[in-house]
């Protein structure tokens, strides 16, 4: 079967804006269905997948993934009439009667959540697509399917933790013999993801978006000061569940919609709410530290409990909380599991893949093998790159190399001279991380690099850390992990070996950790070759690897976006495949 999976709820934010006017923009993110994406699964294998934001250029957009679907079809040379099923990563149909209880909710259901709304969106693009071949998949089941059916394991524990699905904050499954069985589901009013997002909002950042910034801020703080608050706020129950009473303080529809009483409780008992433009104080760092510690403990509690209950020693995870690299690092070091797999598109974009895989599994088509490094997005050939370059010919100069080895040697030489290099090759990544195809790379040993990248290139908060990409053969040399440890998706924090922390200032966070990506020549050959070229010059096959975008923008997709972003930032040089692009500055180059 040819199955298109989709995620996102196009009308969720517009509905909220119509019914709750006057909120701050970031408060409209207290809603469902962000991160639209499409994934094409053919005969049980994913052949193309991408987030819609990369096409609309609206970060985290929930718009129906017209662009991403169009890309998936083109990538496989299919027409819509070749598609057997469309599967959506939400299924609210079981909750219709509950939403009928009040007029606002009833309208929310009809316009945003219902099957009719989904069918309407599909028919808006393809009026002929048979409605009976459009399917809805429970949100957490879609997350779980995305993890289990790409884990390569026949048997494992599958844990989904996010803010919420239709109604749940976490769901635990066993995967056995190609089937997922629910073990326990935790209601959303006890969702650790929602608590984390509410504190994120409270600290002046964006709900359902900036949680990773709080994770980055946490190591600057001392968890002890606010530990009692979180220990009381989050009860870890003996049955493996979690209780968070402060999320149930809201009494009216209005309060529940925007967690007004829960937020008031945070103001009165945790700390004053910080304005987005306000200074980040020690108190905010301490809150972030205690919150992160609380999340770490909660994830360990839930996963640990069900590991014991089921006797399973392998863990596959998805859901937005599974992108929390600090918690993942704690899990990895806990010894609770022999192996852990985090599906790299663990956020809601990944439910497009999961919805499609769930349907494929029902058809008996799954060949469960470990997800490759997810280069599943669009790639652009030399003709398209040349067309983009010609648009900017007055502003850029180009040097063409004849093969990858020469390109890597030239890039390594620039990196060695302290230059910031944009590295654009092959197919775009699926999931939030740039893994070597839409990356900005630099020397991890340069002491000024972190501040320079934050201020001049990414134009973002000064506290934000950067992550390293290292050739897999060297991972145990620099980081405190066994030789050959595979961390290809950059979703786990590990310790930098103590003696190397001073040597690697650009990628070592204040607590001595780094969110490392290991690069294996079998899976990510070209990026590995770049690292080896860097290693030849520096005896260190490692770079800083950060996504090719600036604050508030999605990662670049097309060569044109790559050139524009390069020209508008402090990036020193851009490699578009084997073409070096530099600014024209009175005949001088970098």
């Amino acid at each position: 079967m040819n199955i298109i999976g989709v995620s996102g709820l196009e009308f969720a934010v517009p509905f909220k804006k119509a019914h709750w006017p006057g909120l701050e923009e970031r408060e409209y993110r207290i809603s469902q269905g962000h991160d639209s994406a499409a994934a094409l699964v053919i005969g049980g294998q994913c052949v193309a997948a991408a987030a819609e934001e990369r096409f609309t250029r609206q970060k985290h957009t929930g718009a129906f993934p017209r662009g991403a679907i169009g890309y998936c079809l083109a990538a496989a040379s299919l027409k819509v009439s070749d598609i057997d099923e469309i599967a959506h990563g939400f299924d609210y149909s079981g909750y219709r009667k509950a939403y009928a209880l009040d007029a606002t909710s009833a309208e929310l259901y009809e316009r945003v959540f219902s099957r009719d709304a989904l069918v309407g969106l599909v028919h808006g693009e393809w009026p002929q697509f048979p409605a009976e071949r459009i399917h809805q998949v429970d949100h957490h089941m879609a997350h779980a399917a995305s993890a289990y059916y790409t884990s390569g394991w026949d048997e494992c524990l599958v844990v989904v933790v996010d803010a919420m699905g239709e109604a749940h904050g976490a769901s635990i499954y066993t995967g056995r013999g190609g089937r997922l069985h629910p073990v326990r589901r935790i209601a959303a009013n006890h969702s650790i993801g929602i608590l984390y997002s509410l504190v994120t909002l409270h600290l002046g950042f964006d709900f359902n978006s900036d949680e990773y910034k709080i994770m980055g801020l946490a190591p600057y703080g001392n968890a002890a000061r606010f530990r009692p608050f979180f220990e009381q706020a989050v009860e870890l129950c003996a049955d493996g569940a979690v209780r968070i009473p402060l999320l149930s303080l809201n009494r009216t529809r209005e309060e529940r919609e925007n967690y007004l009483q829960s937020r008031r409780f945070l103001s009165e008992h945790l700390c004053a709410a910080r304005r987005p433009e306000g200074e980040i104080t020690e108190e905010h760092c301490d809150v972030a530290a205690a919150l992160q510690e609380c999340l770490d403990k909660t994830v360990l509690h839930v996963c640990g409990h069900f590991a014991v209950q089921t006797g399973l020693r392998r863990l596959a995870m998805a859901g937005g909380v599974a992108l929390n690299c600090t918690a993942n690092g704690k899990l990895m070091r806990s010894g609770l599991f022999d192996a852990i797999y985090i599906q790299p598109a663990a956020g809601d974009d990944g439910t497009a893949l999961g919805a499609a895989l769930h349907r494929a599994a029902r058809a008996g088509e799954i060949r469960n093998s470990r997800f490759p490094v997810p280069f599943l997005g669009p790639g652009y050939d030399g003709v398209e790159i040349d067309a983009a370059l010609s648009e900017f010919q007055d502003r850029v100069a180009v040097v063409r190399f004849s093969n990858l080895a020469e390109t890597c040697a030239a890039a390594a030489e620039l990196i060695g001279r302290g230059k910031v290099v944009a590295w654009y090759r092959g197919r775009m990544e699926y999931g939030p991380r740039a893994l070597g195809h839409r990356s900005i790379v630099a020397d991890p040993a340069d002491p000024g690099m972190r501040d320079r990248l934050n201020a001049m290139v990414k134009m973002r908060e000064a506290f934000r850390p950067f992550a390293p990409a290292v050739a897999i053969g060297e991972v145990d040399r620099w980081f405190d992990v066994p030789a050959g440890t595979e961390l290809p998706y950059m979703v786990v924090n590990v310790e930098v070996r103590e003696q190397y922390r001073p040597v690697l200032p650009a990628i070592t966070h204040v607590n001595g950790t780094a969110r490392v990506q290991t690069v294996d020549p079998r899976e990510n050959r070209e990026f590995h070759e770049l690292l080896c070229a860097v290693g030849k010059l520096s005896d260190r096959a490692m770079v800083v690897n950060t996504s090719f975008n600036v604050k508030g923008q999605p990662i670049v997709n097309t060569p044109r976006e790559a050139i524009e972003t390069y020209l508008n930032t402090g990036i020193d040089a851009l490699f578009l495949e084997d073409v070096l692009v530099e600014r024209r500055t009175n005949g001088r180059s970098v």
Partner: protein, 178 residues
């Protein structure tokens, strides 16, 4: 109105457990926390927050007298006092109904005043909380509830919910369900 002895005792036990998380040495519900040196101004504030968070009550700082916090029993009294509507506790013999009331209290942070209280009219349940309640009932009683097969009106009172749970707990073959 006083709560029934059963609930009072469980509340005291819960408060006791909470205070013990601050200091394991509190032996009885009547131990003086000040004399025992457990409470100073800083720890009082922390305990206050903890009590508020755990029992979902508001205890404004300016209204608190230190004496209200001298013993576990007094803290439990304060919690009881701060809960707005005083419940007519479901009949003690109806354990299931009691369990459902406890579920509302522990998992939705709301004390349902009586088994006949209209949960929709009072706003205790709306679309958002009903969905949560269904999950909580599923977990608590090991049920699988599909709203599509149920009448939402069955959830209007805790009495009705108890009836529903009782029905669904009956083995499927006995009532002819597949």
């Amino acid at each position: 109105m006083q709560l029934s002895p059963t609930l009072t005792d469980s509340l005291v036990d819960e408060v006791h457990a909470l205070v013990r998380s601050f200091s394991p040495n509190v032996e009885s519900a009547h131990s003086d926390l000040l004399e025992a040196g457990i409470l100073d101004s800083a720890s009082l504030v922390r305990l206050l927050f903890a009590v508020e968070a755990r029992f979902a009550v508001a205890i404004p700082m300016e209204e608190v007298e230190i004496d209200s916090f001298r013993t576990v029993a007094e803290i439990a009294d304060l919690v009881r006092e701060r809960r707005s509507a005083r419940p007519a506790r479901p009949p003690k013999e109806d354990a299931l109904l009691g369990e459902i009331h406890d579920l509302f209290l522990s998992s939705l942070s709301v004390e349902v005043p009586s088994p006949h209280e209209d949960l929709f009219k009072t706003g205790i349940l709306d679309s958002m909380t009903l969905v949560q309640l269904i999950i909580l009932l599923e977990n608590q009683f090991g049920l699988s509830l599909s709203l599509e097969d149920l009448d939402v009106a069955a959830f209007a009172t805790t009495e009705g919910i108890a009836r529903l749970v009782r029905q669904l707990r009956t083995p499927a073959e006995a009532i002819g369900r597949p």
